[in-house]
């Protein structure tokens, strides 16, 4: 009998399936097995792990392809460098376009981790900022504030959410000053910084058109399409599974209906985030419902009933 993890062995001892002496043998075997492959190629394995995390996101097929593409590109550039061939400079500034809740921040975080493992970024952390963090209150303050944020981001990714708002204010707005500082930094520090501008599709297009220089400085554009109903349902299931809950079939049907209603009602429909909020609310409702009961079975603790969703209306 072979066991996968130490916990299994302990459980077997507890249930009286094996004796402690056998347990020691199994534990020793296990340590021998795990001692070797970890050393072989840790880095490759870690990268695969992170990419696996990415592959587990629902939908986003275009994004996944692009991240793999970037990974392959960087890897090959490195090999070329080893062979003393000419290499393309690694400029990886990006623009993420998509509605809220379509996974822009999540993907940015994963990218940070991937790039750190590959060795492109030293730290691979993500600094998330918005207009208010960059733009100051008086003349000269903006450059100072922006530089501060940039300094924090060196070695990682600076992620500017709703970046179009930097160009919104008109002629006298300080946002422009912030853009100038950013543009200079992304040229000067292109080895140690990746800048990601994110925002809604339409607004970002306008933003890029008003600043012609910007478009060419960002070689990578990624569109985050809205999730369709089926994908949203998948997300809901995944969220539930992670929290050890399940949705009954009726609940799923009701959830679909609810999502359909919301997506037609609201202009900037929150996509995955809305689903998460709904599920979290439903979980709370379920808790309230169960509190009233005396005897609660394990099954009841897991199952989310349609009643729980009925209360959820945003």
């Amino acid at each position: 009998m072979s066991y996968v993890c130490p916990q299994d062995i302990f459980l077997a001892v507890e249930n009286g399936e094996i004796s402690p002496a056998q347990a020691f043998k199994s534990l020793r075997e296990m340590d021998n097995i795990t001692a070797y492959p970890t050393k072989v190629d840790n880095r490759q394995k870690r990268i695969e792990e992170i990419l696996y995390e990415l592959d587990h996101l629902i939908g986003l097929s275009e994004v996944k392809r692009l991240v793999r593409e970037i990974y392959a590109f960087i890897e090959i550039q490195r090999r070329r460098a080893q062979e003393k061939l000419n290499i393309e400079p690694l400029v990886l500034h990006m623009i993420f376009k998509g509605n809220p809740g379509t996974g822009k921040t999540t993907v940015a975080r994963i990218l940070g981790k991937v790039l750190r493992e590959i060795g492109v970024l030293q730290r691979g952390h993500l600094i998330e900022v918005e207009r208010a963090d960059l733009v100051g209150e008086y003349i000269g303050h903006t450059a100072q504030k922006t530089r501060e944020q940039l300094k924090k981001a060196y070695g990682g990714i600076l992620f500017i959410d709703e970046a179009y708002s930097l160009a919104r204010g008109g002629e006298k707005d300080f946002g422009k000053e912030s853009i100038d500082v950013l543009v200079k930094a992304m040229e000067d520090h292109k080895d140690e910084l990746i800048l990601i501008l994110a925002g809604y599709q339409k607004e970002m297009e306008n933003f890029l058109q008003t600043n012609p220089g910007l478009r060419s400085r960002f070689p990578i554009h990624i569109d985050f399409p809205d999730y369709n109903q089926q994908e949203l349902l998948h997300i809901a299931e995944q969220l539930c599974a992670k929290r050890q809950y399940t949705l009954s079939l009726e609940t799923q049907a009701l959830l679909l209906k609810l999502l359909l209603q919301q997506s037609s009602n609201i202009e900037n429909f929150g996509n995955a985030r809305t689903v998460r909020n709904i599920i979290e609310k439903a979980i709370r409702q379920q808790a309230v419902r169960l509190m009233a009961k005396n005897n609660i079975t394990r099954q009841e603790l897991i199952l989310i009933e349609p009643v729980d969703l009925k209360e959820v209306k945003e």
Partner: protein, 201 residues
Amino acid sequence: MRELTVVGRPNSGKTMFTLNFASYIGSKTVDVTFRTYDDLITCRHFSIEEAKRELCSNAMHKTKSLQSIVLKIVLGKTVVNFKLTDTCGIGEKIHQEEKIRRGMAQTLSLMRCADFIFHIIDLSYISKEYTANPNTIDHEIYNYGIVRNSYAILANKIDVPFAKDNLTKLSNIFPKATIIPISALLSQGLKEVKTCVARNV
């Protein structure tokens, strides 16, 4: 804080050693933290004498869960805290009582993460059959411990008359390990244990 664990057969003197060692390095009272299999933690305050009365016994399997005490050891001018955990004894066979099987599982899981393992062997237990059999639980613990590199055998009950000869036998059976002869009951040999602890905390 480093965690040192005391393992061995049932009735080899683990609890007695733990308490007498605590007393040897200067504790008059101990706060014993009991940790049961389902992670229920209770803490009791004992004087050493009380603790011996309550926790030690001549019967097998008195200790059924993890019992930790935090101790202080003086190294030069600094005081270092460490945790000494007494465990449920483990035997070769599957025990019929579930509570004890759980205790054994706890011991095993603690051995995997402990920083140092003290393996207590009862010298009076060593017989001809014991020497001939390479599959005793002590062998298993030894084989497991020796790869971990932070492992020492405490040969207990050195005060028993015929135990001296057994000590040489023991070092033949377990050639690679550090063996410290002690008497947990009479607090003999604890000085060497203290040096060993000082090196490993």
